[in-house]
């Protein structure tokens, strides 16, 4: 083989060679690990991985655990409110910011900065602000409103709403940015034509502008639902899953069953269910996105 020949061959293989370490990492650390975890969910693994197959036992055990049912109920409440409120606030703020507002740049910066923080920081700040002993309740009482009570974070029935509050605080500004970008992309000529026909602002938004924001709604929904299912740090920092189990979510359930309760099989089963849920949302979305492009 001549030298030149070798060089062309190398050039042909080089791109694949360069890509291969990354691809290998992905195949092993993502897809291999997923396969391993799914496999473990069918075994009798407890403290350590073990390979004795037990069929669907972990899954049936899982669905009998009240702890898991509580996590799922909480997830339902949390995801519904979190996605709903973030979308509502995000869209509202974007529409308001789109009215030739004076300090728009500064307001945008203020709305968006929480996104740069760690959920542990957010959780710490809200944990003490909502703490009845030193936070809001105590402050308002010391200002003279002695009958004021606000102890949701310590109340089993209401603690989950404090998680919603902190999570909305963290991400609603980001949703605002997505909607604002969408609004700025809308063609003004159509709006002007509709205005000439006498359409009110309300109707402009309802009939023309908001329907055109469909892609932004879809991306917001996909991003928020995927963030909701992954929520872990915020709960750990804000409530630690408590009081009792009042704010446990699937992610905290998986963590405690796997690492503190030594029920690795059940932990893996819960992780598998989390993955399937996210895949059910992400795969159709990504597939549609990838197909659109050429």
């Amino acid at each position: 083989m001549s030298n030149a020949d070798f060089k062309t061959r190398l050039q042909n293989w080089l791109p694949k060679l360069v890509l291969s370490p990354s691809l290998l990492l992905m195949l092993v650390f993502v897809y291999g690990f997923i396969a391993f975890s799914v496999y473990l969910s069918f075994t009798d693994s407890r403290l350590l991985p073990s390979f004795g197959l037990v069929g669907w036992e972990n899954y049936s055990k899982l669905w009998r655990l009240s702890h898991w049912k509580i996590s799922l109920t909480n997830m339902g409440i949390f995801a519904f409110l979190y996605i709903g409120i973030c979308t509502f606030i995000g869209l509202g703020l974007a529409i308001f910011l789109d009215q030739k507002i004076r300090a728009e740049g500064m307001l945008r910066t203020i709305y968006l900065y929480p996104m740069a923080l760690s959920f542990i920081v957010t959780g710490t700040a809200w944990k003490w602000f909502l703490d009845p002993g030193i936070g809001l309740e105590n402050v308002l009482q010391s200002w003279g409103w002695s009958s004021f009570e606000f102890d949701w974070i310590k109340d089993r029935n209401y603690a989950i709403y404090t998680v919603v509050l902190a999570a909305v605080w963290q991400t609603s500004g980001f949703v605002m940015a997505m909607f604002l970008a969408g609004l700025r992309g809308i063609d003004n000529e159509i709006l002007k034509a509709a205005q000439m026909d006498g359409a009110s602002n309300w109707n402009l938004y309802r009939r023309i502008i908001i329907p055109q924001l469909r892609p932004a709604f879809l991306s917001a929904f996909v991003i928020l639902s995927h963030l909701a299912i992954k929520t872990f740090d915020l709960v750990i920092a804000l409530t630690g899953g408590g009081p009792g189990r009042a704010t446990e979510l699937p992610a905290t359930f998986m963590y405690s069953y796997t690492f503190s309760r030594n029920q690795m099989g059940i932990g893996a089963a819960s992780a598998t269910i989390m993955l399937m849920t996210i895949a059910a949302i992400m795969v159709p979305y990504l597939y549609a996105e990838l197909r659109e492009k050429k």
Binding site: L14, P21, S22, M26, A116, F119, T124, W128, W169, A271
Partner: protein, 293 residues
């Protein structure tokens, strides 16, 4: 995400505008509230907080909570303050950001300018990896880090973050390079330039904006990570977020809220700084890539 032009056909009356400004200001206060609470309470003595003065400005200004949070607060069993964990975070973040960005750039280059038969499937596999719940990889990853002999170390954590950041960095560079004129690459090829030479001389010089996006994204995500840090680090390699959580959740002794707030700001400072200094380049870089990749 462009919000460059501030131009809309919508007209609003005076009363409506006042309401709009009021709502916008109210929300600005809502977003600033926790930051205000953290800042004022990190510089006042503890008794001012416990006495019902959380919302007040400090009457006895002190930097002691900051010094304590940094140098001497009890974290776990050691009274070391947060400083060693800050260093851990840096030791983990810097290599992870650099390596994942370089690999992402090369992957994006191959996936757009050297396409092969299954390039779409490869990209799809990498893209989906961005969105998996990490719970699904925790158990095998713990085992793998043990096998590699880097369990409970900052290099182990860096590896974890490289792997799970690759999807995002590849996505960014791929979308950016997808709109880069392929003719330039072909022309250079005809002139005899090879794979790396084309990358180095033609693509890299104009990759600034997207490199900024990739670096900011990775830096923020890795610095703020808690799950991997809590799962894989030992007492000597814990990142800042895990240490902060240990500080705040400690059940023994007096709860020093002022120290907790100072610690929280210390943990938030690097990413806040990046956001304030480079946030606008992030939006601009995302835009420069393409509206849709």
């Amino acid at each position: 995400m462009s919000y460059a032009k501030q131009d809309t056909a919508i007209r609003t009356g005076r009363a409506v505008r006042i309401i709009i400004y009021l709502v916008l200001l109210l929300f600005a206060l809502f977003y600033l509230l926790p930051l205000y609470v953290m800042l004022v309470n990190s510089v006042k003595p503890l008794h001012e907080i416990t006495g019902g003065g959380m919302m007040n400005l400090p009457s006895g200004f002190t930097l002691e909570p900051w010094v304590k949070a940094w140098k001497s607060a009890q974290i776990g069993v050691e009274p070391t303050g947060l400083s060693p964990y800050f260093v851990n975070s840096i030791k983990m973040v810097v290599p992870a950001v650099v390596i994942s960005t370089i690999l992402g750039a090369l992957n994006g280059y191959v996936l757009t300018k050297w396409q092969f038969k299954y390039h779409k499937i490869v990209f799809g596999l990498m893209l989906f990896a961005c969105f998996i719940p990490f719970q699904i990889v925790l158990i095998p990853m713990a085992k793998m880090l043990g096998l590699l002999g880097i369990a409970g170390s900052t290099s182990g954590l860096a590896l974890v973050h490289i792997v799970y950041g690759l999807g995002f960095t590849t996505l960014y560079f791929r979308n950016y390079y997808a709109v880069f004129p392929t003719e330039l690459v072909r022309a250079a090829q005809i002139d005899g330039a090879g794979f790396f030479k084309i990358f180095w001389r033609i693509l890299l010089p104009s990759s600034g904006p997207i490199a900024v996006v990739s670096i900011i994204w990775q830096f923020t995500n890795i610095w703020n990570d808690f799950l991997f840090g809590a799962s894989f680090a030992d007492a000597n390699s814990q990142p800042m977020t895990v240490a902060l959580n240990n500080l705040v959740q400690a059940s023994h002794g007096v709860k020093e809220y002022n120290v907790h707030f100072a610690g929280a700001i210390l943990a938030a400072l690097p990413t806040l700084l990046v956001y304030v200094v480079a946030g606008r380049y992030f939006v601009r870089g995302l835009m420069a890539g393409s509206v849709k990749g």
